[in-house]
Symmetry: C2
Amino acid sequence: MQTDIKLVRNENYDPKELNLHETLFCNANGYIGIRGTLEEGVPKDFPTMRGQYLAGAYETIPMKQAESLCNLVEEKQTMLNICDTQTICLTVCKEEFMPAAGGVIDSERILDMECGYTERVTHWKSASGKEIKVRIRRMAHFGMKELFTIEYEVEALNFSGEAVFDSIHDAEVANFSDPDDPRLADASPCYLKVAEQGFSGSASYSVSRAENSGVKIAAVTEHVLDPSSGSGCMMREENGRLITRLRVPVRQNEKITVIKYAAFSDSIREKDPKAKAMSVLKEAKNRPIEELYDEQKKYLSKFFERSLMTIEGDNELEDAVRFNMYEMLCAAPHDDRSGIAAKGLSGEGYEGHFFWDTEMYVVPFFLLTEPSLAKNILSFRYATLPEARENAALLGHKKGALYPWRTITGRECSGYFPSGSAAYHINGAIAYAVIQYYLTTYDEDFLLEKGLEILIETARLWLDTGVYDRQGRFCIHEVTGPDEYTCMVNNNYYTNASAKHNLSFAASLFEKFRNDERAVRLADRISVTDDEIGKMKKAAEHMYLPYDSDYGINPQDDSFLEKPVWDLAATPKEKFPLLLHYHPLHLYRYQVCKQADTVLAHFLFPSLETKETMEKSFRYYEKITTHDSSLSTCVFSMTASMLGLKDEALSYFGDSAKLDLMNRHENTKDGVHTANMGGCYMAIVNGFAGLRITEDGLSIDPYVPEGLKSYSFPFSYRGRNLRLTVEKDTAVLELIEGEALEFSAGGKKVELGKEKQWKWKL
Amino acid sequence: MQTDIKLVRNENYDPKELNLHETLFCNANGYIGIRGTLEEGVPKDFPTMRGQYLAGAYETIPMKQAESLCNLVEEKQTMLNICDTQTICLTVCKEEFMPAAGGVIDSERILDMECGYTERVTHWKSASGKEIKVRIRRMAHFGMKELFTIEYEVEALNFSGEAVFDSIHDAEVANFSDPDDPRLADASPCYLKVAEQGFSGSASYSVSRAENSGVKIAAVTEHVLDPSSGSGCMMREENGRLITRLRVPVRQNEKITVIKYAAFSDSIREKDPKAKAMSVLKEAKNRPIEELYDEQKKYLSKFFERSLMTIEGDNELEDAVRFNMYEMLCAAPHDDRSGIAAKGLSGEGYEGHFFWDTEMYVVPFFLLTEPSLAKNILSFRYATLPEARENAALLGHKKGALYPWRTITGRECSGYFPSGSAAYHINGAIAYAVIQYYLTTYDEDFLLEKGLEILIETARLWLDTGVYDRQGRFCIHEVTGPDEYTCMVNNNYYTNASAKHNLSFAASLFEKFRNDERAVRLADRISVTDDEIGKMKKAAEHMYLPYDSDYGINPQDDSFLEKPVWDLAATPKEKFPLLLHYHPLHLYRYQVCKQADTVLAHFLFPSLETKETMEKSFRYYEKITTHDSSLSTCVFSMTASMLGLKDEALSYFGDSAKLDLMNRHENTKDGVHTANMGGCYMAIVNGFAGLRITEDGLSIDPYVPEGLKSYSFPFSYRGRNLRLTVEKDTAVLELIEGEALEFSAGGKKVELGKEKQWKWKL
């Protein structure tokens, strides 16, 4: 295994950087997410988003519509900041360790991605001249999802005396509220109220409850001291907070260590979350911490074995791509009770909602590296199919399911339906991911137990929405495509293309497995008939895909090309992103795109159009796209790769892979851009490497973009482990494990199996 | 003059009817509106909307958007319930007069439209058997707009004793809140807070202030007793209310009378509203009440002389039309500080907002009867042109003015812009009214001082909104026409037609008066250039008016006919109005109309299409229109008249004229449907009588619909007073006053002047 996958940053406690570090050094494991805030806190007026989150834990809050219309969404879910168990205030000989207020001689933060923990090491001098070295290691454990540990080590460098740790457990914390945002000013975002809390033996515990949703969160903490001799422990409740005070003698050049174990559970997953948290805590405490670290390392070793990308020629890019992979892992749910939020578990941006980009941008990464995580994500969609059916009914549909545009529980949370609920293409994205999951894994169990039902219910929605026009074309009206700068249009090309794909595969996969008893039961349970399958095939076949012969391109929708082109050149820089500076009605009246829309459709469904149409469309849309969304440039890059536009592919790829690591958008403090991370992975794997998995199997058509020497990555495909290595002139696909296979190498069908690798010239 | 224009109703104090009577017996004069609630109040649990309103008096309240987007409206205005000065509690020999709780022998309510007051006469017997006759006459004075009087007469029929009047002045009242509407449940609608109140001599006074808008309302009351001998008067403040207690000896078979004068003023119109109200009160009190009644009667006599319609063959219809005329007069503003609210001054429905229907449905009535009132309405629009310019800028326009869809102050109050701000056709309606005002009155002063600026600024908005398509057609995208069941469409036929009219007249009237010094100043002030006028003419000429050759009709918009037709026959009755039962996105996906849209365009702009196209369109749209709006059937009726479809004209006319008088929609309790009243007038005058005023002058092409014998009405036209009388076989136009004129009688140009009447065969 590759070693040294680390992110190391100098920590100068600059308020401008601290909340960026809170995001970058967040500890998460798909269930717990704990921002990398400082244990001791920060001085007043330092910006901070002190947050601990559990995947899928939410409160329901009212969302009154300014004008009430029938069936508009009037409440939404919001992710919960569950509690604060990370606070540990240290005083050494009565002097408070508060490096953000001064005294730092040297400090560093490390995210060790091989070990799966973060570290902060600070050499600090008190006002009276006492020097200490503090090393704090934090871990959200991948094996024991409920467990978070803080190992807090103090070394007295030039004195002996006493250290006092005040370790806090505060179960009544507020969600983040931006004081500069007047919309939040009068909202009291303290959603969780303590139901019970106290001490049990040397452990602190709390159970808190969100009033509207009824969701309960349990948290327990306990401390282990080393050495424990001579120390004292006092527990008290003060101002509603549970405080454990540890007094420890320190001697010059000796280290003392406090380990704070915290375990969490929730009533979404557990009947008795408190008992669950207690039992996890007990189990963890009974094992040496080194054993937990080892387990963590092994877990990650396996993960990187299946995913680690090597890029020669651009170390920064390699670092960024690896960081992104790690972050996606941290965001991936371990069960079917949540999806992946826009910011993963690293912040409260977008209120912790799950959108279409999970399926379209993040799932592809897991499909090729850790398909079980992709399955979790899709299983969440299966689990929320009843809510999607209800949502469809609210929107007036007689049949089918419509997934919510943004959600935590499966219920729609969009406040503005024209660019929320009207984005029916989320159905297409989920169906696409289900199909890709099947094509990549051949996991028939998932397909027949969950996936096919999703495919049929989403396909039904298209049947119920669309209508044949006078020319016999199947048309879909009043929907919003990925580009939100145009809303509620007719025949959005992307939507129609993805509906066609959805309808077609729903029918063909149903037919393929129609004799399997699980498919028979499904057909019976949800009344699938031959007639309906026939209608799906017919709608797919006659799906209208707008084409404009004047321009030789696919218009984004029926009326798109009739509108004037927005003058981007004349738009001042400070007016971007446009949606923050122009009334939506104004935006809708122009040809201007927030993000890839038709260009994404071309990438996903390249067989629908000629290369000429796709290239002309690419040229057309690139002139009118602002890329105000972080989901845009990666798509332009992969489509450019597909079209052989290598310069453009590289230029669009740009440094979006480094978006968070380099804080390019200056908003990583609010959380990472999870979907962009997946999109960049796709831009390399599906773009540069031209890797495709379709019903015809695996095909690879790679190149190395300018500026790079080579790249290499492992991936899994239908039970096999493979590795692709691409150099300027050659590509090699190795079969590491599994049966022989046919694949298409640069357009040529070849067999990989007898020889364990296939090398070809580029 | 015709006599006996009265509405007389038995008053049985049935709670089901009481709030209907509050609307029907409302006293209003265009400034004050005081619902016909009972002076003594009603028992608990009786429904009531106890309201007193002043035209244009408003509070600003927050209207948070569920999802904040750029420049969305986040606050709105709402009309104020200003105070309660109508309460008078009577006790006779310690027994409380509360007829709604029982004891009524006989009671009647009267709206005397010739006299301009309402009366309630009640013969009542107390629990102990004392009988009294109470006659209460109320008047909102047309001459002294700030004045409201209650003349309260009591006659002891079978006893002598003492009457005590507790007359209340309560300046801190709440707006109406429907306890069944959960949206209002937590809102405290008591917007006005008392700034000062007390007694001054024998008068009570209050000044209250709306916190956000700063609008101040002054109210003063004072009492006059007859006979005053032996009576006592005590004033006190109790629970924030000002109470004047009058003790009066009563003797059997003698009458005692209390007159309560109330005067109101507001800070929108007056620097010192309290002083103004005081001075009005003083002036009124110094004159005998009979003199005030006489003045009122004279005012109305003049009004009916210019407007009173006679209909032979349907007395009920005649009554209803007269009631409607009176109600429109009561709603008409006396200055440029307000428009006409959807419910006039008779209730709080639609929050007292002014919409496009004022100009499109109500102004036509005043144009032909009392053009000065039409001028007030249009002057309000002129006064709020700055706000309309700001509104246009908020929506991204570089030039022009966009009138708000709903407003009190001129600022937009729509919470849902797709069927609010996007209804750009309000600009067309206001421009149409300005043009019709000019064509009907030839009032050049108004045109050059106000109207032309409105025309140019609204025309500019079309220029800034529209764009030439590839065929060189001027197209208008993303607007909403009158039919709100389809929103944000391209090339709404109605909108484009009204924009064409607006552009064309803005250019032609500017050119006509370009040498007038006021037009020169205007051009200079708002920078009108020849180039711009040229662009207006070109856009008008090339305006795209969608036509579908398959159907031979004008489609409502570009994509309307591509959508499936809503199955109205299969829609259960309880699902109407559709907008209360279906998500808007669902409605938008069908061919289904809430109200006349293209059909209204055909009526307004008949020269744009052939009769065949208009008739086919009429037939097409009538099948898919639900008439969920009270503005719809009157338009179908007038268009049917225009097309010679007499049966349809009669059938659509139906009894919509009687909508309020007969409470056909069962919601007149919330206030009258002012625009429908105007629409019914139009259905007779512009529909049955085929009266049109265009740049070619006056034309009349009348018929008498089945079931009527004849009808006759006066009207004014370019300084002349005329009367049209239509019988089955003949029509007569009389010139009552003014110069000779040419007009078109049934398609034939004739001159009326030498002979004072022109009679022609039908």
